[in-house]
Each structure stands twice: as structure tokens, then as C-alpha cells.
């Protein structure tokens, strides 16, 4: 009954063609160029000059800012925001699945809404809330409660910037991954639960571990991937909040900002490409871990 695998089906090609052509042009080729550029000195004016591994060597041995601030910041940010946002999304999705349709729809909408205000709209909002003078909402509140005696420069101070970045990013972390997980949970056949109870599971925790998570693996994996990507993409937030790249004393400097700093501010595009490739490597490592976690064990 199986159709022949050998025959090149031109119809399959038609179905795949449009997507993969655009994919090739706008993703694969730029990635290849980035890898290529990472071995060159390129200032965007002269033709790229091949310099071997020099960019990589410099990145790992000469770039004090990178090692001292960017790597630790990125790790701290990624570890809290990535798994943190992911677990929060799953937990919220699971809670929502326990209540009836109408309140669920409303609450899901509210939880999801922060992720819609991505980018520019958000920086306006948060800069007002965390504004460094007494007219800032948080400062005003703290002053009224006499927690502080003078306004704190939240967005300009190295101690606070990173925490605010983490808070803001977690706030907007219930994105599409969250929606997919919610759909996934609701989509599990209730007979599977019944069968599991007959087999002897006793409480909701066991239910999550033995039924819910294994039954919605595609959505769990999707959610994890979204968490990783949005975590590493969220780098712009520090620059948006503090209004400067580099961020004050590099407190909020993440790898993405470092790429921008070199690529668009210093025009050292070969070096920027090298950081990009490095970043790609790290994200790839994360993805390996996630894939192993959710790989089909059947």
C-alpha cells in the first residue's frame, strides 16, 4: 500500500517550493554569509579581508567586556528567564485548563496580552513606571510608603537594571508557547486520564507527570523552543530601558547588544558576525538539551 519513495513527486515540490525558496534566500544564505564573515575583517566599506580565526581568538581572549559582563549577564538572564518563563507558562496553562471555558478565555487573554505589546510600546510603558525621578510610579509609591528617602535611578543603576530586565521579560513571556501549551492540555483526550486513574495514579501531580506532559509532547517542545528563542531575542530590552548601548556599566549588556554594538555602532562587522556565530552555537546547545528532554521515547 505504501506509495513509492523513489519517484520524485513534482507535486510535493510544488507544496514545499514557496516556503523553502524564501527560507533559503532569507535564512540559510544569510547564515552562511555570517559564518563566512566571521573569518574576516569587514568594516562595511572595504571588501572583507580573510583573517582566519583571529575574531574568535580575540573574542575569547581579548574582549574583556565580553567575558566580564556579556557572558555572565547572558547566562544569568537566560537561566532565569528561559526555564522560569517556560515553567510559568506551563503552570498558568495548566491552571487555566482546570476552570470552565468562559473565565478561562478571559484570563488567558489577560495573561497573553503582555506579549502583544512587544518592543516599542513596552519601552514607553516601563520607562514611565521605573522612571528615575519622583514622578516615576514605582519611586512615587516607595516614597509614599517611606521605603526610600530619595528616588532610585532604577534604569540607570547597575544593581537594578538586570533585575528589571528579567521582570519585564518574564512579564511578557506568556506568548505563543503558552497558547500552544494551553491548547495542548485541553486537547488531551479525557479517556487517557480515566485510564490512568484506573492504572493507579492518585493525584494531580502524578496526573501532570504521567499523563499531561507525555500526551502533549509536541506542544511542550514548541513551548520550550519559543522560550529559548524569545529569551535570546529579548536582549534588546536592556538597551530600550536604559536608552543606551552599551547599557550603564554594561549591567544589562547581553550578547545581542554586543553584536549590535560592534556591527552597527563600531562597524566591525566581521567581529559582530563572529559573536553571532558564537551565539548561534550557544542557542544550538540549549536546543540540544531541550530536544533530548522531549525526544520521542517510544
Amino acid at each position: 500500500m505504501k506509495p513509492s519513495h523513489k519517484k520524485v513527486d513534482y507535486q510535493t515540490g510544488l507544496f514545499l517550493g514557496p516556503y523553502y525558496l524564501l527560507f533559503l534566500i532569507f535564512i540559510v544564505i544569510p547564515v552562511i554569509i555570517a559564518v563566512g564573515l566571521s573569518f574576516t575583517y569587514f568594516n562595511a566599506i572595504e571588501f572583507p579581508r580573510f583573517i582566519g580565526l583571529k575574531n574568535y581568538v580575540n573574542l575569547l581572549t581579548q574582549d574583556a567586556v565580553f567575558m566580564q559582563y556579556v557572558v555572565p549577564n547572558t547566562l544569568k538572564f537566560a537561566i532565569i528567564v528561559g526555564p522560569g518563563g517556560y515553567l510559568l507558562s506551563f503552570f498558568m496553562a495548566w491552571l487555566l485548563a482546570q476552570i470552565p471555558h468562559k473565565p478561562r478565555t478571559l484570563l488567558a487573554l489577560i495573561l497573553y496580552s503582555p506579549s502583544m505589546t512587544a518592543g516599542v510600546a513596552m519601552s514607553v510603558l516601563w520607562t514611565v513606571i521605573f522612571s528615575g525621578d519622583e514622578a516615576g510610579y514605582l519611586n512615587n509609591l516607595l516614597l509614599q510608603l517611606s521605603v526610600v528617602t530619595e528616588p532610585i535611578q532604577f534604569l540607570q543603576s547597575p544593581e537594578h537594571l538586570m533585575n528589571i530586565m528579567i521582570l519585564v521579560t518574564l512579564w511578557s513571556s506568556m506568548g505563543v508557547g503558552f497558547l500552544a501549551m494551553l491548547s495542548g492540555i485541553l486537547n488531551i483526550n479525557s479517556e487517557i486520564y480515566e485510564a490512568a486513574y484506573i492504572d493507579g495514579i492518585k493525584n494531580r501531580l502524578q496526573e501532570i507527570i504521567y499523563v499531561t506532559v507525555p500526551s502533549m509532547r509536541p506542544q511542550m517542545l514548541f513551548g520550550a523552543v519559543m522560550a529559548i528563542v524569545s529569551t535570546f531575542q529579548a536582549g534588546a530590552i536592556g538597551v530600550q530601558l536604559s536608552g543606551a548601548n552599551p547599557t550603564p556599566q554594561y549591567a544589562g549588556q547581553l550578547m545581542v547588544n554586543h553584536i549590535e554594538d560592534y556591527g552597527f555602532i563600531r562597524y566591525e562587522m566581521g567581529y559582530a558576525a563572529c559573536i553571532s556565530v558564537f551565539l548561534l552555537g550557544i542557542v544550538y546547545l540549549f536546543s540540544k538539551v531541550v530536544n533530548n528532554l522531549f525526544a520521542d521515547k517510544d
Binding site: 506509495p3 513527486d9 507535486q11 507544496f15 516556503y19 523553502y20 524564501l22 527560507f23 532569507f26 540559510v28 544564505i29 547564515v31 555570517a34 564573515l37 498558568m92 485548563a97 482546570q98 476552570i99 471555558h101 478565555t105 489577560i110 497573553y112 496580552s113 503582555p114 502583544m116 505589546t117 512587544a118 518592543g119 516599542v120 510600546a121 514607553v124 510603558l125 516601563w126 509614599q144 506568556m174 497558547l179 500552544a180 491548547s183 492540555i185 485541553l186 488531551i188 486520564y193 486513574y197 494531580r204 509536541p218 506542544q219 514548541f222 523552543v225 519559543m226 528563542v229 531575542q233 534588546a236 545581542v256 553584536i259 549590535e260 559582530a272 558576525a273 553571532s276 548561534l280 542557542v283
Partner: protein
């Protein structure tokens, strides 16, 4: 076994045992929702309330002045605000429509059609998912320049169509559909196009709704394309215009009101499209019985 009734996911009606879930969900929703409420209030504040000390959360005497100023505003080069808004609407609608078509087509082939390198093609897509787009900005510029797409409307649309997340999601969903469904249709003599249109598309509405939201948001909120690839003000989008409000006129009094109004205007279409699509996601997922 007596507790079974209470552990059912997706209950039909309210029960006292659900209160504990509300006890976590409602405070969380308030925390998450406050900033949105703030945006909505801020946009309608008259000048003296925008700069009131101490700052007030809620608007007291709402006015449409900020919106009037925003709609009447004109870029330094003479491009009216409505042009940016129009561009954003056209670009976003086009991207959503085309993304849905090409991702579902490719998703169907990847999931249900046998062919060589199928696994590899999907894995390459999954790998691309991990790439942080900002990292490819420079090489992308070189590609777009060589294709002569700089300063055209196409630069908003074409790169946005290669949405690895979209294909990934669609393929994951189509994988859940039983192969027998497609095999039975093949036996009945249905062509690929018929299977795609008559069987696959109706069954993957949730996935379509989700990727529509995704495509819309990434396009509607996108500032980078207008910023990097386009010099002609008439082709730039509203999200970009908004950044010019906050960065160049951010300190002036009119700018604050206008950018508050613009924030809300940026947010509303996201909200509307989501409310519309979310019903699809929720309803279809709960009742369609996809295996």
C-alpha cells in the same frame, strides 16, 4: 476513585474545588494586566494629568486630544501619520495571508508526503528556529541589496514569509492527524491539492489561527525592516513612526501624549486579532477531536 470528578481537565461548569485555581490565576492576571490598563488610561490623559505629580494611574478627565494630535502629525519629511498606518495594515494583512498558505502547504508535504531528505529538511527548519534574527541583519542586508529589494514594499513581506516557527508549529499539528485519513483519501483518488484543501486545512484551524497571530505580531511590531532596509519614508510602517515619536520628540510635551496614544494604537490590533483568533484556538482545540 471518588476524587476523579474533581480532577477532570476542561470542566463544563464552576465548582467550589476550582477556587484554588482562581486564587492563583486572578492575582496573576491583575499583575499581568495592570500595565495594559495603564497604557489604555495614559493614552486618554490630558496634558496636565500626563505630567501630574504625584502621578495618577487612572485617567480622570479623558480626552481624545492625544489621538487628534497623533493623527494630525506629520513626519519631518512631510509623510503623514496615516500613511505609516496604512502601510502597516497592508503589509501585515499580506504577510498573514501568505504565511498561512505557504506554511500549511509545506507543513502538509513535510508531514504526510514521502520523499527523500524529508527529515533533513524539517531539521534544518527547526535549527533555523533557534537563530536569533538580529544576528543575521547584516548578511540579510547584503542579500536584499543584491536582489534589489531595498526601498520596496516587498522587503516588508518576503523575508517575513520565511517563518520557521510557523512551519514548525503547523507540521507538529499535522503530525497529530492520523495517516489513515490521508491514505483513505488517496485510495479514493484525491489529488494532493484536494487532500490539502478539503482534509488538512479544515482540521488544522487551530494551528492556522496560531500562526496568523504569530505572523501578524512579528510584522505589526517590526521596526527593524523600516529602519534598516528602507530609506523612503512613504514605505515605512507605523511601528517605526512610533519610535521616532519617542526618540526625537520624547522629551517634548506633545510627544509624550502622542506616543501614549500610539502605544494604545499599536496594541489594539494585536488585541482584536487575538480575541478573534483565540476563540478559534480554544474552541477548535477543545472540540475538534484531533488525535
Amino acid at each position: 476513585m471518588s476524587s476523579f470528578q474533581g480532577t477532570k481537565i476542561n470542566p463544563k461548569k464552576f465548582h467550589r474545588s476550582q477556587l484554588k485555581f482562581y486564587a492563583i490565576l486572578i492575582p496573576m492576571a491583575i499583575f499581568m494586566g495592570l500595565p495594559i490598563v495603564y497604557i489604555a488610561n495614559h493614552a486618554f490623559k490630558p496634558l496636565n494629568e500626563l505630567f501630574a505629580y504625584p502621578p495618577r494611574f487612572f485617567v480622570e478627565r479623558p480626552t481624545l486630544l492625544n489621538f487628534q494630535n497623533l493623527f494630525a502629525s506629520v513626519n519631518v519629511g512631510g509623510t503623514p501619520m496615516s500613511r505609516y498606518l496604512f502601510n502597516s495594515l497592508v503589509v501585515s494583512a499580506t504577510v498573514v495571508f501568505l504565511t498561512v498558505i505557504i506554511s500549511t502547504m509545506a507543513g502538509y508535504a513535510l508531514s504526510k508526503k514521502p520523499f527523500k531528505f524529508k527529515q533533513v529538511m524539517f531539521e534544518v527548519n527547526t535549527l533555523a528556529l533557534m537563530f536569533v534574527p538580529i544576528a543575521v541583519t547584516i548578511p540579510r542586508y547584503l542579500v536584499i541589496q543584491n536582489l534589489q529589494l531595498l526601498n520596496t514594499f516587498w522587503v516588508h513581506i518576503l523575508p517575513a514569509l520565511a517563518l520557521p516557527v510557523g512551519l514548525f508549529l503547523v507540521k507538529q499539528f499535522i503530525d497529530q492527524l492520523p495517516n489513515e485519513l490521508v491514505e483513505a483519501a488517496v485510495m479514493d483518488g484525491a489529488s494532493d491539492w484536494q487532500i490539502y484543501k478539503k482534509i488538512i486545512l479544515p482540521l488544522i484551524k487551530p494551528a492556522i489561527a496560531t500562526i496568523s497571530i504569530l505572523a501578524f505580531q512579528s510584522t505589526w511590531n517590526n521596526v527593524e525592516i523600516s529602519d534598516v532596509y528602507i530609506n523612503n519614508e512613504d514605505l515605512k510602517t507605523f511601528a517605526f513612526y512610533m519610535t521616532t515619536l519617542t526618540s526625537t520628540t520624547g522629551n517634548t510635551i506633545a510627544g509624550t501624549g502622542m506616543s501614549a496614544a500610539a502605544s494604545l494604537l499599536m496594541f489594539i490590533p494585536n488585541l482584536v486579532i487575538f480575541i478573534f483568533m483565540q476563540k478559534q484556538v480554544m474552541d477548535t482545540m477543545a472540540h475538534s477531536g484531533i488525535k
